[in-house]
């Protein structure tokens, strides 16, 4: 087990992870941030896309130990103070989601795309989202949603800032910090 420290959505966390633990499992299983989804086991689907130090990554292809000291933003951290991100607004306005399972990853990937290319053509949007699969929408309305966000953002000059700093609190997921309950659970595991 290795103890790592990572800032997720502006909140600093300490967690004990196995060397093999993936970032997506850290987020979902230990930090209880279940908005990031798992849709495959070969890094094709993109349901797990988050931002690592401001750039999109598939959280299933990053080990948790690799994010020690890093800044991570997940879908839960995208809407600042209850105001929807322009992409979230665009997906709602343009019916860019149906079952919603791919949506968090799709939005996080699109946010990275718009950071790199604030005014993409439809073709550039389609190619920019090639790492994310959606089985419901046929992508037509996802393209419209991203275009909506691009137009809206360009009209207001820049994307809203993501969380980059910490809010001062540290949430500790290590066994030590979790105290007796965690130790008991651990010994129960060992005994069985």
């Amino acid at each position: 087990m290795t103890t790592i420290s990572v800032t997720v959505n502006g909140k600093q966390h300490r967690a004990e992870v196995e060397p093999r633990t993936l970032l997506v499992h850290l987020l979902r299983e230990q930090l209880n941030l279940t908005g990031t989804h798992i849709g495959c086991d070969t890094s094709q689907c993109g349901a797990c896309v988050v931002h690592l130090n401001g750039e999109s990554v598939k959280a299933c292809t990053i080990l948790a130990v690799q994010v020690d000291g890093a800044q991570v933003t997940t879908i839960e951290g995208l809407a600042a103070n209850g105001t929807l991100h322009p992409l979230q607004e665009g997906f709602w306005e343009k019916h860019g989601l149906q079952c919603g399972f791919c949506t968090p990853g799709m939005i996080m990937a699109a946010a990275d795309l718009l950071q790199r290319n604030p005014n993409p053509s439809d073709d550039e949007i389609r190619h920019g989202l090639e790492g994310n699969l959606c089985r419901c929408t046929g992508y037509e309305n996802i393209v419209r949603a991203v275009r909506y966000a691009a137009e809206k953002t360009n009209a207001s000059a820049k994307l809203p800032e993501e969380h980059t700093g910490t809010d001062g609190t540290v949430v500790d997921y290590t066994a030590e910090a979790q105290g007796e309950a965690a130790s008991e659970a651990a010994s129960a595991t060992a005994a069985s």
Partner: protein
């Protein structure tokens, strides 16, 4: 507001979906997001062989692994019955074989479960799988449906000679043989409708919980039909009393049919929860989903279409081998029979038709309903053959279609293969609109010009009709289905005027909460925000059959309308009582009940809801509260239709196909929310287009799934999907009070042949008359270079 003011109706408006805010902010809750105190995790050891005997299984090392709580094999759970097959081919013998929770003696497809590990976390459970030692006796496998029926083929099940699960036909064979024998022109083809993998982005799984003090079970599953799952688990699989099992469906990350069915992991989770006294969770990974969750399509068909020289179609003869996989899944035999063979004549008035279907066991994953379920296969077949006939006759494919369309005055229309009467239709306006949108005559000029320059453009037309709103119970039971297909609703108007609707429908992307709330708000004349639509928990919703077969609006929505009507009647009764008026003189309009001719004498639904909830002054015979439940069994199915047209360009040097335009004109009856309808159409089209160009579930001859992950199975990306142009015609259904049909499957039913017809049109200078799907670059290049 006075009674004369008209409240603005919201039915028919593209309002934003109420489902979205939680889903796009990470606050949805899907199955794997649920954590229970003390929960254990399941991993399943799956057969590496497609066909093998289990000689022995040694689980001792796995059981001793730290963190492992239990290891079990099939022999440990013989108290669980094999899974049920609830829809059998009607009127013929079905040689039924269904899977057990874990295989006991023999496996029949690669990926079938043989042992289970339960551990403190999912990683430990996976680790321990490697410590289980299975002694196998590998057997030869058979994967091709037609070859599996031949003498000498590998046999899967003792009770199914030649691997035949059922042998079924419909239509008039003699009349069809005579029509084809007498036809001036006959076109023949062997058409393969390849196997597909549904691939909802969320895989399946199960969470089981058992309370030994009350003997209550709870099962969380990603399901399209939780009440059906409860019924099947209780009545057939486990014998749990039905009131002792609660099934809860959280947000569902797509289904496309694959989440209708009973899977081995559902009883497994309940059995383990009871055995171990702790909640257990199983979540498929994608590779497991591809191996063990149901697949779709997989037909090999010989087809003949006979016509006069001037293009009047006289007869259609079809012989199909339908691959069922290693066992029969829950409703598998119903798909290639009722939902395929009975609509094989499509939108055409064909006087004689016959369809023979052989359902075949092979050493592959089970095949069951996948978006469209039988209707895409039927639509592909007839639309390919009509194009094939047009080429043979040298006729324009649009005009050949027009000439054979069922005419508006022929509805209700009885086809030659024994389907329920098509409810309503007007096929030419949709064709005309699509031809106009594409600029048909200009295109043919452009196409001819392009060919001179070595540029190969093709245009494909697909006119389709489908069966939605499944289904009248008496009819579907006569077709072999083992239960009802009605739907339920309950509507309560609380004291404060807030409305709660519970439904047996199970939304998983269709926007049912939004569309149903639009209807309920309009019917009751209340604010849209004051209506809540609840679903998914067998404890709090009336029994319902769930969401599939494009049935939720046409059956579930109409069930809700019935409850709303009952509420309105009760509101009128109570208002009449309070106003000392005659009930017969009461009118309910815009959220108020008033005396006809005296609109000032009125009571709002809010006032009546409060009066009813308090219950101090009610008409004699009426009970307190506005609370009504209804069950709606439709008198007929509904039959959406339309025409899609695509234009493709084939690169003759590489074989690459590019879809340049895709036009869809659909008629799904009255649209409650056109934005949602169009979203359904878009998604459906890309799934069908993916069959035409990209997707294929490929097994090798040993029964190994070669397209076993998303790396190998080509679900299209945004860059592989075209821009889609959508339009509508509206022919209300006379079957139901809402005039609605269905839109969930239409796109998929229309699009595969639309694209293939375009590809084959583009390849016509090379003498290509048919090409099997998917039209990959390799296959297209080989077709070009075959001559």
């Amino acid at each position: 507001m006075t009674v004369t003011e008209t409240r603005e109706r919201i039915v028919g408006r593209s309002i934003k979906r109420r489902e979205d805010p939680k889903l796009m902010t990470g606050q949805g809750s899907y199955l794997d997001d649920i954590k229970l105190q003390g929960m254990l995790h399941i991993a399943i050891l799956r057969s590496p062989y497609a066909h093998a005997k289990i000689v022995s299984i040694d689980t001792s090392k796995a059981a001793a692994h730290p963190g492992v709580v239990g290891v079990f094999v099939g022999k440990d759970m013989l108290d669980i019955n094999p899974l049920p097959c609830a829809w059998q081919a009607a009127g013929v013998t079905n040689n039924i074989n269904t899977p057990r929770t874990l295989a006991v003696d023999e496996v029949h497809f690669a990926g079938e479960g043989v042992a289970v590990v339960v551990a403190e976390d999912r990683f430990i459970a996976r680790d321990a799988l490697d410590l289980i030692d299975v002694q196998w006796e590998a057997l030869p496998a058979t994967v091709d449906a037609e070859l599996s029926t031949k003498d000498g083929a590998v046999q899967l099940h003792e009770n199914a000679p030649n691997n035949i699960a059922f042998d079924w036909s419909c239509g008039d064979q003699e009349k069809t043989d005579a029509a084809i024998a007498g036809a001036e022109v006959v076109v023949k083809e062997r058409i393969v409708n390849q196997r597909l993998i549904p691939t909802p982005m969320e895989t399946r799984g199960a969470i089981g919980l058992y309370n030994s003090a009350t003997d209550d079970y709870t099962l969380w599953i990603s399901s399209q039909a939780p009440h059906v799952h409860r019924l099947l688990l209780c009545a057939f699989v486990m014998g749990i009393p039905e009131h002792k099992l609660r099934v809860i469906t959280p947000n569902v990350g797509g289904g496309f049919g694959a989440k209708i069915f009973m899977y081995a992991d559902y009883p497994l989770a309940l059995w383990l929860a009871k055995r171990l006294g702790r909640p257990v969770k199983y979540i498929e990974d994608r590779s497991e989903n591809y191996k063990q969750t149901t697949h779709g399509r997989d037909h090999v068909t010989d087809v003949e279409l006979g016509a006069t020289k001037d293009g009047k179609i006289l007869g259609l003869r079809v012989n199909t081998y339908a691959n069922m996989g290693g066992y029969l899944s829950t409703i598998a035999p119903g798909i290639p029979t009722t939902l395929y063979a009975r609509i094989i004549t499509g939108v055409y008035d064909i006087p004689a038709a016959h369809c023979h279907v052989t359902g075949v066991y092979t050493n592959t994953a089970m095949v069951d309903a996948y978006r469209g379920a039988g209707r895409p296969e039927a639509s592909y077949l007839i639309e390919r053959m009509v194009d094939r006939l047009a080429v043979e006759l040298g006729m324009d494919p649009a005009e050949l279609r027009r000439k054979n369309f069922i005419q508006p005055e022929q509805f209700p229309y009885h086809n030659a293969v024994g389907l329920l009467p098509y409810d309503s239709g007007n096929y030419e306006p949709a064709l005309d609109k699509a031809l106009e949108m594409v600029g048909y005559s200009d295109f043919r000029t452009e196409q001819a010009e392009a060919r001179k320059h070595g540029k190969y453009l093709g245009l494909g037309i697909s006119s389709y009709v489908e069966i939605c709103g499944v289904a009248p119970t008496a009819w579907v039971m006569s077709e072999g289905w083992g239960a009802g297909l009605w739907e339920s609703s309950s509507v309560r108007v609380h004291l404060t005027g807030k409305v709660v609707v519970t439904t047996g429908s199970l939304p998983h992307g269709q926007g049912i909460e939004t569309a149903f709330a639009q209807i309920a708000a309009d019917e009751l004349g209340v604010a849209y925000e004051d209506v809540e639509i609840q679903w998914g928990d067998t404890q709090s919703t009336p029994f319902g059959y769930g969401t599939y077969g494009s049935r939720s609006l046409a059956v579930g929505g109409v069930a809700m309308k019935k409850s709303l009507d009952k509420i309105k009647e009760k509101v009128k009764r109570i208002a009449a009582h309070l106003l000392e008026a005659n009930v017969a003189d009461m009118v309910f309009e815009n959220g108020k009940a008033y005396v006809k001719g005296s609109p000032e004498k009125s009571k709002s639904i809010g006032e009546i809801a409060a009066a009813a909830a308090v219950g101090a002054s009610l008409p004699p015979g009426d009970e307190p509260f506005l609370d009504e439940t209804s069950y709606y069994d439709p008198p007929n199915c509904v039959f959406p239709f339309g025409t899609h047209i695509s234009i493709v360009e084939v690169d003759a040097d590489t074989g690459h196909v590019a879809v340049k335009r895709y036009i869809a004109v659909d008629d799904c009856g009255v649209m409650i929310n056109p934005m949602i309808v169009e979203g359904q159409i878009h998604g459906g089209i890309v799934q069908g287009l993916a069959q035409a160009l990209y997707e294929s579930a490929v097994y090798d001859e040993d029964g190994q799934l070669l397209s076993g992950t998303l790396m190998d199975y080509a679900v299209p990306t945004a860059a592989m999907a075209p821009h889609i142009e959508v339009a509508h015609t509206v022919t209300p259904s006379p079957v139901n009070a809402l005039g609605v049909k269905g839109a969930g499957e239409a796109g998929t039913i229309a699009s595969a042949q639309c694209v293939m017809n375009a590809v084959i049109d583009a390849l016509s200078p090379f003498g290509v008359k048919h090409l099997q799907m998917p039209a990959t670059a390799e296959r297209v290049w080989n077709a070009i270079h075959a001559k």
